[in-house]
C-alpha cells in the first residue's frame, strides 16, 4: 500500500517539476505505447506504431507520444508501464494480450491515467478499457479467396497459439474456403510464437512440402511470404499489408488499422469525455481492412470477395451463420442462426470438417 503512495508522490513530483528540463515536455497531452515487438516488424507492432503516428498527425502539438518496444510480457511490462507514467504519460495503450494483468495492476495505482489494453478482457478499474478487432471477418474473405484459388485443395495455415482469437480465425477461413470448394482441406502448423521468422519460415516450408498451394498465417513476420514466393504459390499479408510481396505471392492481406480508434480515444481523453469501453470492431469501422486484391486473383473472385466485405461491413452477413456443426458433429448454430459474441470470445473448438485437433 505504501508503495502506491510513493509512486503517486513520484508522479506528482514529476508533474510538479514544471520548470525542469524534462517537464517542459509535459504540457502537451502525453500518450504512451507499449509494444511487444520491434516497430520495424512490418506486422503487428508496426501497425500499432502507424496508429501512434496517426495520433501525432491528427493532434499535432497538442499531443506528445512516447513508446517502449520489445517489452516482454509479465513482470517487465508492469515496470515499463509504471516508468511510462512516471515519465509523464496521461494515457497508455498496451498493445499485447500478455500485458493484461500488468495494465490492470498499474491502472489501480494511477487512477488519473487512462489505460487502453488491446485484445484483453480484464477491466478491473474504471480507467481501463479494452479493444480488439474482429479479425475473423477478414479471415472469412481470405478463406473465400483461398478456397477459390487452390488447385491442390490443401490450404496451409501457420498458427501462433491455441487461443480463441486464433481458433476463430482458422474456423472462419476454413468455413469460407469450404463454402466455395467442398474438397478443401486445411493443414495447420502451430509455431507457439507471434514473431519468429525462422520458425514461421520452416512451418511454411513444411506446409508447402505437404502439398499446400495457399499459405495463410496468423503470425507477424514476412518469412512465410518469402517461402511462398520461392515455391511459386500464394499467400496473404498479415496484420500489415506486406505489399513488398505483391502482386504475388501476396494476393491480398488482412490489415489491422488502429488509427481511427486511437485518434477517437485520445480525443475523448483530452476532452474529458473518455469512458470505460469494451470495443470489438471489424470492417464496419475500418479497424479490419482487406489490403488491395492483386491481379493474380481472378476477377470474378475479386468481385465476390468485395461483395462479402460489403455484406459483413454493412451488417447483412455474419461470418458465423448456421448451420454450423462443431468438429465432433454436434450442432452449434442452427440454420440462419448467428454466433453470439460470448461464444466467439471464448471459442475453443474447431468446426466440422477440420481434421486435426487443437493442441493441448
Amino acid at each position: 500500500m505504501k508503495l502506491t503512495t510513493k509512486l503517486l508522490a513520484s508522479a506528482a513530483l514529476a508533474t510538479g517539476l514544471a520548470g525542469g528540463a524534462l517537464a517542459d515536455s509535459h504540457d502537451p497531452f502525453q500518450i504512451g505505447f507499449i509494444y511487444v515487438g520491434p516497430t520495424g516488424d512490418f506486422g503487428w507492432t508496426y501497425e500499432h506504431d502507424q496508429g501512434r503516428l496517426a495520433v501525432e498527425e491528427a493532434y499535432g502539438d497538442a499531443v506528445e507520444t512516447v513508446f517502449l518496444e520489445n517489452v516482454a510480457e509479465g513482470a517487465d511490462a508492469e515496470r515499463a508501464i509504471q516508468t511510462m507514467v512516471l515519465g509523464g504519460a496521461d494515457m497508455i495503450f498496451t498493445t499485447s494480450f500478455g500485458y493484461m494483468e500488468a495494465t490492470n495492476a498499474v491502472a489501480g495505482q494511477f487512477p488519473d491515467v487512462y489505460f487502453e489494453h488491446a485484445t484483453g478482457y480484464l477491466r478491473e478499474h474504471s480507467n481501463v478499457s479494452t479493444y480488439s478487432a474482429r479479425f475473423y471477418e477478414g479471415r472469412a474473405v481470405l478463406g473465400h479467396i483461398a478456397g477459390n484459388m487452390t488447385e491442390s485443395n490443401i490450404i496451409g495455415y501457420i498458427a501462433s497459439f491455441p487461443i480463441p482469437e486464433v481458433i476463430r480465425g482458422i474456423n472462419s477461413a476454413f468455413l469460407h474456403a469450404r463454402a466455395v470448394n467442398p474438397d478443401v482441406e486445411m493443414r495447420i502448423v502451430w509455431v507457439y510464437s507471434w514473431f519468429d521468422p525462422a520458425e514461421e519460415g520452416a512451418a511454411a516450408q513444411a506446409l508447402i512440402d505437404a502439398g499446400a498451394d495457399v499459405i495463410m498465417q496468423h503470425t507477424d513476420s514476412t518469412a512465410p511470404q518469402a517461402a511462398a514466393q520461392e515455391a511459386g504459390i500464394i499467400s496473404f499479408g498479415q496484420a500489415s499489408d506486406m505489399a513488398q510481396f505483391a502482386p504475388i505471392p501476396r494476393v491480398a492481406s488482412i490489415i489491422d488499422d488502429w488509427a481511427p480508434y486511437y485518434i477517437e480515444r485520445v480525443g475523448m481523453a483530452m476532452e474529458g469525455t473518455w469512458e470505460q469501453a469494451d470495443t470489438w470492431d471489424g470492417f464496419s469501422t475500418g479497424m479490419v481492412v482487406i489490403g488491395e486484391m492483386s491481379d493474380a486473383i481472378p476477377e470474378d473472385v475479386r468481385v465476390s470477395a468485395q461483395a462479402m466485405i460489403d455484406a459483413i461491413g454493412g451488417g447483412e452477413y455474419h461470418p458465423f451463420t448456421g448451420p454450423i456443426n462443431r468438429q465432433d458433429g454436434t450442432a452449434w448454430l442452427a440454420d440462419g442462426e448467428t454466433a453470439d459474441d460470448g461464444t466467439l470470445a471464448g471459442m475453443d473448438f474447431y468446426v466440422e470438417g477440420i481434421t486435426s485437433d487443437i493442441p493441448n
Binding site: 508503495l3 513520484s10 517502449l68 509479465g74 513482470a75 515496470r79 515519465g87 494483468e101 497459439f161 493441448n360
Partner: protein
C-alpha cells in the same frame, strides 16, 4: 606485428581490472553509437547509469526495481558459477527456471483456493526439486552415456518451453479465464504470493522496498557461495576439478559426483528463481513466462568472473542497464535495439579483454617459437 603469448598463470591484476575497463570501453563505444544515432552520448549514459539510482524523479521508483530485476540473475548465476568453475557447462538454466516455476505453481494451485501459510514454503521446495530434476537429465546422461551436457541442457530448454506452452493453454489454465491462456494469478492470492518482507519500510535507501523472498535468497546464495569457495573443501575440489581434472581425480574427487552436484545445485537455484518469479513479479504462468533470465545469467556469471561478489555486482549492473535503458528509450527516444546492442557490447569487451588476463601482448617479431 602483434603476437599473443600465453601467460604461465593468468594475471590477477588484469583479471580484476578487465570488468571495469570493459564497462568503460562499452561506455565509449556505446557513446559513439548513440552519437551516431543523433543523441547526446553523455546524456544517454547518464540516464542509463545515473538516473535510475539518483535522479530525484525516478530514483524512488527505480531503486526497488533494480533488485527485483537483478535477483533472479544473481541467483541463477551463482548456481552456474559452481559448474563453470568445475568445467561443467550448464547452458540450460532457462529450462530449469521454467520447470521450477511450473512445479512450484502447480503445487500452489493444486491447493487453490486455500490460503494456508504452509503452501508457499511447499512451493519453494517444489521449485527447488523441479529445477534439480530437470538438471539431472543432462547430468545422468553425461555420467551414464557420456553425452555432452552443453547440448543436452540447451536442447532441454526447448522441451521446457513446449511444456510451458501446454501448461499455459491447458493443464494450468485459469478455469475462469474465458478460454484465454495463462494460469490463475499467484501473486495476488494469499497463500501462493511471494511475500515482500520490507514493503514500505523504506530502509536502506529504498532498495529493498519491493524485495521479495527471492531477493533475500539470492543474497544468501552469494554468501553461501563465498563461504564455499573460500573456506570449504568442496569449493577447493570444484576449483581443482576445473583446473586440473586428473589431479582432482587422484585426490579422490569423483567426477560423477561433481557432475551431479554442480548441475543439481545450478538446477535447483534456477528452478527456485523461476518459482520466486512466477509467484511474485510475473504473477502467473503464461506462454511467454520465461524472458531469458537463464541465458542472461550466463553473461552475469562471466561478467562477475565466476566470483560470488563479482556476480552480485554484475547482476546489479546488468539490471541497471535494463532499467536505465528503458528510461533512455522513454526520455530520449533511444531505439530499443540500440540498448540491446549496448548490452551486447559489454559482453563483447569483457570477453575480448579476457584474452589479456591469459595472454601477454607482444609487439614486433618474437624469438624462436
Amino acid at each position: 606485428m602483434i603476437r599473443l603469448e600465453k601467460r604461465p598463470t593468468p594475471s590477477r591484476a588484469w583479471a580484476l581490472s578487465t570488468p571495469i575497463i570493459a564497462v568503460i570501453l562499452t561506455m565509449i563505444a556505446g557513446g559513439l553509437m548513440f552519437a551516431a544515432l543523433g543523441k547526446d552520448p553523455f546524456e544517454v549514459i547518464r540516464v542509463i547509469f545515473w538516473d535510475p539510482l539518483f535522479s530525484e524523479r525516478f530514483a524512488a521508483f527505480s531503486r526497488p526495481q533494480l533488485l527485483v530485476k537483478a535477483g533472479p540473475l544473481i541467483l541463477i548465476a551463482i548456481g552456474l558459477s559452481l559448474g563453470f568453475r568445475a568445467g561443467i557447462w550448464n547452458i540450460g538454466a532457462e529450462g530449469q527456471y521454467i520447470i521450477g516455476a511450473l512445479c512450484g505453481a502447480a503445487f500452489g494451485l493444486s491447493f487453490y483456493p486455500s490460503e494456508s501459510p504452509l503452501i508457499f514454503p511447499g512451493m519453494v521446495i517444489a521449485g527447488l526439486l523441479g529445477g534439480t530434476l530437470w538438471a539431472m537429465i543432462p547430468a545422468l546422461l553425461k555420467i551414464k552415456a557420456n553425452t555432452n551436457e552443453i547440448l543436452v541442457s540447451l536442447l532441454l530448454v526447448y522441451v521446457a518451453e513446449a511444456i510451458l506452452a501446454s501448461a499455459a493453454t491447458s493443464w494450468l489454465r485459469n478455469p475462469d479465464g474465458q478460454g484465454f491462456p495463462g494460469s490463475r494469478n499467484l501473486s495476488r492470492h494469499a497463500g501462493t504470493e511471494n511475500p515482500i518482507p520490507l514493503e514500505g519500510l523504506d530502509v536502506l535507501g529504498g532498495f529493498f522496498d519491493l524485495a521479495h523472498v527471492g531477493i533475500f535468497a539470492a543474497m544468501a546464495a552469494v554468501i553461501a557461495a563465498y563461504v564455499l569457495f573460500q573456506k570449504h573443501l568442496l569449493g577447493y575440489q570444484i576449483k581443482l576439478a576445473g583446473q586440473a581434472p586428473r589431479a582432482a581425480k587422484f585426490s579422490g574427487v569423483s567426477p560423477a559426483l561433481m557432475v551431479v552436484l554442480c548441475l543439481g545445485v545450478s538446477g535447483a537455484l534456477a528452478g527456485v528463481a523461476g518459482l520466486f518469479e512466477v509467484s511474485g513479479p510475473a504473477g502467473q504462468i503464461t506462454i511467454d513466462f520465461n524472458v531469458g533470465y537463464g541465458f542472461t545469467a550466463i553473461i552475469v556469471a562471466f561478467l562477475g568472473r565466476l566470483h560470488p561478489v563479482g556476480i552480485l555486482f554484475a547482476g546489479l549492473l546488468m539490471a541497471l542497464t535494463y532499467i536505465g535503458g528503458e528510461l533512455a528509450q522513454l526520455l530520449l527516444q533511444v531505439p530499443g535495439p540500440a540498448i540491446q546492442a549496448f548490452q551486447g557490447m559489454l559482453l563483447f569487451f569483457l570477453l575480448a579483454l579476457d584474452v589479456l588476463s591469459n595472454y601477454r601482448v607482444r609487439f614486433g617479431r618474437g624469438g624462436a617459437a
